[in-house]
Each structure stands twice: as structure tokens, then as C-alpha cells.
């Protein structure tokens, strides 16, 4: 397991490509476990500012978002990989995407002590600067999650380059996967909100109406309020 973690982080495309080519239940189980632990750990630090119960809820929901994205986009990602000429099978596609999420989860777990330190120094919920504390936590997590995502996708690009043998195909496949995963991921995260927890709302696993409204309509409404 430790060997697998090191291999993933080093991004040795030859060896990673070899392990993805020999895809089996073991790889899927290992990557899933890494995501469960890494993203769960980081998720706990994400919700901690609002309270221990929110930390517990977010530790469950953060890996859940990743698994739901893999599940929802599994078929279309496999089809796009084949149409765009990567020669990856459906199983290899699933494992490659799980692998990139596993890399992100390891990086996020590595940042967990740092986010704990930020939480320790942020104005707490009870203070008059609670809004500032919420904003600091939000921006810190957005930055760290984005960083982990960028690094994981660079590793994935290296793997795709190796497996497809073409820079152009690798970029096209990565772009199509990213577009689909971000599009669905934003909505799933919206449905499973809250993650950090709003200072003014009660702690809950899901909002009372999780399936009401969607992320993109909310963004559109916010833009309209801002500009019109």
C-alpha cells in the first residue's frame, strides 16, 4: 500500500501505466480506500470550524462526492476516451480517474495538518469576526483543493500521454474528462451541501431540500444580482 502511494506521488508514468493496464479489483479497492481515508480526513478539517458534528458529516460527504462523480460519469468518460482515440477500455478509464482522485486525496490528507493550523488561528464561530473566520476557511480550502486538483491532473495527463502515445489525444481526453467531472461535481457538491457550514444555519447532514435548485442557476442568479 505504501509502495502504491509512493508510486502515485512520484508520477512514474511507465510504472503507473503498467499498473493501470493490469487493472483488477485490487487496484480499484486500493484507490477507493485511499480516497476514503485521504478525502475523509481532509473533509473532517473542512467542517471542523463549524463544529465537530459538521466535521463528522463532511468527512463522510467529501469522499462521497468523489465516488458519485466517478459513478455518474463512468460511462461517458469511457466512451469519450475511446472516441478520442486513447485505446483505454472502460475499466482502465475508471481506474485512471480513480487514480487521479486518489492522488488528490493523498495531497489533501498531507495538507490536513496545515488546514488544522488555519482553523486553530481563525476567528471562531462564537466571535464577532465569525464571518471573517468563515471566509478565511473557505478561501484556504478552495486554494488547497484547487492545488491538489491541478497536481493530480498533471499526473493523469502524464499517464494518458504514456498510454495513448499522443500528446494531442492525451490533452483532448483529459479536457473532456475534466469538463464532465467539473460539471457534474459542482452539482453533486451543491446537492450534498453544507461542507464548511454557514455560521447562521444549523448543522445538518444535508439541507432540508437537497434536491431543490442547482449550482448553475444559483451562480446565474448571483451574477444577475451583481450586475443587473
Amino acid at each position: 500500500m505504501i509502495g502504491r502511494l509512493k508510486l502515485l506521488l512520484r508520477g512514474d508514468a511507465d510504472r503507473v501505466a503498467e499498473s493501470v493496464s493490469r487493472v483488477g479489483f485490487e487496484s480499484v479497492a486500493q484507490f477507493s480506500l485511499i480516497i476514503l481515508i485521504g478525502a475523509g480526513l481532509y473533509g473532517a478539517t473542512l467542517g471542523l470550524w463549524r463544529g465537530p458534528l459538521q466535521a463528522f458529516y463532511t468527512a463522510i460527504k467529501f469522499p462521497l462526492v468523489i465516488f458519485l462523480i466517478c459513478l455518474g460519469n463512468g460511462a461517458i468518460n469511457g466512451m469519450l476516451a475511446q472516441i478520442l482515440g486513447s485505446e483505454l477500455s472502460f475499466r482502465q478509464t475508471t481506474v485512471a480517474i480513480l487514480m487521479s482522485f486518489a492522488i488528490a486525496a493523498i495531497i489533501l490528507a498531507g495538507f490536513a495538518p496545515l488546514t488544522l493550523f488555519v482553523w486553530f488561528n481563525a476567528p471562531p464561530l462564537e466571535s464577532k469576526d465569525a464571518i471573517l473566520g468563515h471566509s478565511v476557511m473557505l478561501l484556504t480550502h478552495v486554494f488547497i483543493i484547487a492545488l491538489a486538483g491541478v497536481i493530480a491532473n498533471r499526473r493523469l495527463l502524464g499517464l494518458l500521454r504514456k498510454m495513448s502515445g499522443s500528446e494531442k489525444v492525451a490533452r483532448a481526453v483529459l479536457f473532456s474528462w475534466l469538463a464532465g467531472n467539473l460539471f457534474l461535481g459542482a452539482q453533486i457538491a451543491w446537492n450534498l451541501r453544507p461542507f464548511i457550514g454557514s455560521p447562521r444555519l444549523a448543522i445538518e447532514f444535508l439541507r432540508s431540500d437537497p434536491l431543490r435548485g442547482n449550482f448553475y442557476e444559483a451562480v446565474w442568479r448571483a451574477l444577475r444580482h451583481l450586475f443587473f
Binding site: 460511462a75 472516441i83 482515440g85 464532465g180 451543491w190 434536491l211 442547482n214
Partner: protein
């Protein structure tokens, strides 16, 4: 002594490496092989339709197109629920069939204008393949569409999402026709691009003619005639008014 190729010999263009390699399918046409060929080796489909024509392949392709559209239609209908669960798939499958029928003659004429050496049956099979690939991708997009259909009550948003996903699917499908043009000796590619625009416009108008597909109505078909751009503008305006209230 060299012999010149005879008329009866199968058409064989210069080999192209990769996805559009013009080569035979391994063991005829079975659904998994057809799906694999559509996704990975579309050149094989073109080869079979041109050089090794059997009715089974175009039939599989058409079945795939219609079953895919029916399956995606159920997801479209799940937004409104009730009778739309069967009305939406029925209308989408019907609209697809009618669009194929309306556009097939012009596709054949445009392939001839492009200098492509293909028979009507090859062109028909290729159109089925293009729509089949689009339908296959829509099945892949179905979980995304379902999540959004359960999370919003905006007809305009859902309609835009379905059109966007359909556009991605059909874009890949229509690339097959360009591949056919390339493999079968087409010299003027712009004709097929122009035909692709015609097919997209016909399909969009067809879905407006068969409305409502996303929303609900007391009638199966509308009594009022409308162009799709007018219909979209009205739907957007109504959605805006609903949001403002």
C-alpha cells in the same frame, strides 16, 4: 505479369493509421462489436457498409440509435414525471426517425456532390451510425441529466442542458460522416459540413414541432406552429418572469 483491378473488386483507399483505419470487422455484426467499432474503430463500420454490406449491420445501428434515444427520453421525461415518462421517449425516438427520413435524400445528394463513391445503402448505414453514436453518448450522459432533472424546476435550464448534451453527442456522430468522406475519396468536404448544419437545424425544429418534450401539456402535439428560435425565446422569457416573481 501485372493485372489491373477489376470493377468487381472492393473499394480500398490508401490505409490511414489509427481510428479511421479502413479494415473489416473481425466477426460480422453483433451488438457489442458494433458498439466497440463505433467508439474505437469507426473505419471498420465504413468498410463493412461499403465493401461487405449486410442488412444486419445497418439494422443494429438503427436499433442502437432508437433504443438509445428511448432510454435517454425516459431521463428527459423524469423531469416532469407522470405521462411524460412515456411521451418524452416516444417523441424523441419519433423525432429522430423523422429527422433521418427528411435528411437522408439530401445526404445522398451531398455525398455525390462531394465526390464520394458510395451507394445509397452505404450512406443510409452511415447516417444510422452517426445517430447511433450520438445516442450512445446520450446514454453515457444520462446520469448527469438525471441529477439535474431532479434538482431543478426550470424548464429552460433543462431544455438547454438536453440540447447541449445532444449537441456534443451529435457532433461526434457527424464526425463519422466526415470520416466516410475521407475514406471513400471525397474531394469537397464542405458539402458534408453544410449538410451537418442542415441536419442539426432539422432536428432542433423537429423537437419544437413535437413539443412539449421536457415540460407538460394537455395535448400530445401542439396546435400552434413555431420556429425553434421563437419557442426558445418564449421559454426563456417565461422562465425569467417566473424567477422574478
Amino acid at each position: 505479369m501485372n493485372t489491373s483491378p477489376t470493377q468487381s473488386q472492393a473499394y480500398k483507399p490508401a490505409p490511414i493509421p489509427g481510428r479511421f483505419a479502413f479494415e473489416p470487422m473481425p466477426e460480422g455484426a453483433s451488438p457489442p462489436l458494433v458498439i466497440e467499432a463505433l467508439l474505437k474503430y469507426p473505419g471498420r463500420i465504413i468498410h463493412e457498409l461499403q465493401n461487405n454490406w449486410r442488412a444486419a449491420l445497418p439494422l443494429w445501428l438503427l436499433s442502437l440509435a432508437l433504443l438509445g434515444m428511448l432510454a435517454y427520453g425516459v431521463v428527459v421525461g423524469s423531469f416532469s414525471g407522470g405521462t411524460q415518462l412515456w411521451i418524452a421517449p416516444a417523441k424523441i425516438a419519433m423525432g429522430t426517425t423523422l429527422s433521418i427520413l427528411i435528411c437522408l435524400p439530401s445526404l445522398y445528394i451531398f455525398t455525390c456532390l462531394s465526390g464520394i463513391e458510395a451507394q445509397m445503402r452505404t450512406v443510409t448505414g452511415m447516417l444510422f451510425a452517426a445517430v447511433g453514436l450520438g445516442a450512445l453518448l446520450l446514454i453515457g450522459f444520462a446520469p448527469i441529466a438525471w441529477i439535474f432533472s431532479q434538482s431543478t424546476d426550470s424548464v429552460a435550464f433543462m431544455a438547454a442542458l438536453h440540447i447541449g448534451l445532444w449537441a456534443i453527442g451529435i457532433m461526434f456522430g457527424l464526425r463519422l460522416l466526415e470520416g466516410m468522406g475521407h475514406l471513400l475519396g471525397g474531394s469537397a468536404r464542405n458539402h458534408l459540413k453544410l449538410w451537418s448544419v442542415i441536419f442539426i437545424v432539422v432536428s432542433l425544429q423537429m423537437m419544437t414541432t413535437l413539443r412539449p418534450i421536457v415540460g407538460t401539456s394537455d395535448r400530445f402535439l401542439p396546435t400552434e406552429k413555431k420556429f425553434f428560435l421563437t419557442h426558445w425565446a418564449e421559454t426563456l422569457r417565461m422562465s425569467q418572469q417566473k424567477n422574478d416573481r
